[in-house]
Symmetry: C2
Subunit: 327 residues, 2 copies
């Protein structure tokens, strides 16, 4: 496993107007001597060590840079950085990542950018913000613009956390403030049924993860899986996700006009059973992109099928990525 | 509009072991002189006056008794009844409804029982508990057993409410306890994206309800729509829903063996875009019931399509019910 490194950027201005004297980007540099380079961006509640990178499969012959979104607790986040802006957006993340690559790592060409979920939305921003630098893009279980339905679903965990009895915004916390436990648990509960799919529950596939009941799965999924996550970091990322929209870059007035500008090959891999980043939306996007390959993951694992939660799905994606990159 | 009446039952024992000296069932008696009789059962967060009864359409020539589930704030509920049991279940509701009809209204035959959502689950219980009394059943957007996915989705609003800063269980409230506002709002938020469908949001169908934006729709849907609802009443109904399972009646060991006992005609009308009471589950049930008619509502209105939220869907259901009852 690769070690996590940190790259500092001085005097960084976020698009909400906040400027910080220093921000930090956490990243891993896997197989750094390889000729071709891939960038993989983390997802919501994603940390570098557990990101599905395909580095031992389809990207085995690539240098793989894995970079953490702002707000994930590894890169600068509300929990790590006093004065962190009240809102952070994909363009902030992608601009900082661009600086890391160009100035920090002296990389000026990315053979491929890969992202799952929020990482996929960041990947879309890469194709729009630095088109000259990206040769291929792989968007897994994601969308160019967060749908109204997806935005509304996120209102649930957000409200569950913000109204919880032990939620205190980071700016108001003291050394005596107890940890936010109930709020994060409620967040996890309000999120949990969206993660997979109705068929996944019907087939009791939590048993394939080693849980002998749905409530045992719930206990870990809405509990231990949030260990180490700060309430305000979750909220910072969630807000970025809700606002996710490549048309907000202002380069083109609408989605079709934006997507048609993408002139590199794009592999779109939604999951057939994803409840919020739906394959139907990816299919529509694929028709607006000049050179798109649309390959829905045939799985009942829903959204997390694209995150590497199911070995067969990961193998399937790995094969598709290999084919896509070797065409 | 019919007036709400109350029927008192003395010495009522709930299946959790609690006995109350009196419980009250709220009901409406529409068109009482008609020859044929229909029973309509309320749904989750459903009140008698806003229940979709088909009384001016397909059931125009019927006496329509509309009856409120325990926990809805009209029939006995945590908010109205000191010592209300910590759990209430469908068999409690249906047993009490049976007493209302047989002893109170002297009705011994129901030409049809109709229910949407939780009302549909109650209807399933009617067919199993009092088969000799029911001639037809109409189950709208519901299921004979709450799915694992549905149970998990409900964990979200439940946790959002129970962990909220202003939630106080009814037994611990005093006259100084402020109303639970934030908790109920969080409940509504965690529920809201499930109500309709992703396509409904894509098509911005909140505009057809008079809202000019998704956030205006959200404001009412997660706010004003909960006016007058007590936190513990919502939780009582939610628990009943989560435990909803006709096999728990113990008459047969599994779902198929239970459903095959139903020997009356059943009309199953799930909605094609319902995210939790899915049409696929209703279709499976329809294959286990000897005399089932399976008619999915062709709509993007999701679950609430079956509640009368969209005029076209309601008209469609009304036609199907007419055909079903006149066969």
């Amino acid at each position: 496993m690769s070690e996590t490194q940190h790259y500092q950027i001085g005097n960084f201005s976020f698009q909400n107007g906040t400027t910080l004297p220093t921000v930090s980007l956490a990243y891993q540099d896997i197989n750094p001597s390889a000729e071709k380079t891939a960038l993989v961006v983390t997802c919501f509640r994603g940390r570098l060590p557990n990101t599905c990178t395909f580095a031992s499969g389809a990207l085995k012959s690539y240098r793989v840079i894995v970079v953490a979104l702002f707000g994930n607790g590894e890169s600068s986040s509300p929990s790590t950085t006093p004065g962190f802006p009240s809102t952070v957006d994909y363009p902030d993340c992608v601009r900082a990542q661009h600086q890391l690559l160009l100035d920090g790592l002296k990389i000026s060409t990315l053979d491929v950018v890969v992202g799952f979920s929020m990482g996929g939305q960041a990947t879309y921003h890469w194709t729009m913000m630095y088109p000259e630098m990206v040769k291929n893009a792989i968007i897994i279980c994601s969308s160019a613009r967060t749908s109204g339905h997806n935005r509304q679903f996120l209102e649930g965990p957000k409200a569950a956390l913000e109204n919880a009895t032990d939620y205190v915004p980071v700016a108001l916390r003291t050394s005596a403030t107890p940890a936010c436990v109930r709020g994060i648990r409620a967040f996890g509960k309000a999120y949990s049924a969206w993660l997979t799919s109705a068929d996944w529950f019907d087939q009791q596939l939590y048993t394939s993860l080693g849980f002998n009941s749905q409530s045992a799965w719930d206990e870990t999924t809405t509990g231990a899986n949030y260990n180490g996550w700060d309430a305000d970091d979750l909220l910072a990322m969630l807000g970025m996700w809700q606002r996710g929209d490549i048309t907000a870059l202002g380069k083109e007035p609408n989605l079709e006009a934006s997507l048609v500008r993408i002139n590199i090959p794009v592999l779109l891999m939604p999951c057939q059973s994803d409840q919020y980043f739906r394959w139907e939306a990816s299919e529509k996007e694929s028709k607006m992109i000049l050179n798109a390959t649309f390959k829905p993951i045939p799985s009942v694992w829903g959204h997390i099928g694209g995150a590497g939660a199911c070995k067969e799905d990961t193998q399937w994606m790995d094969n598709e990525i290999s084919q896509f990159l070797s065409r």
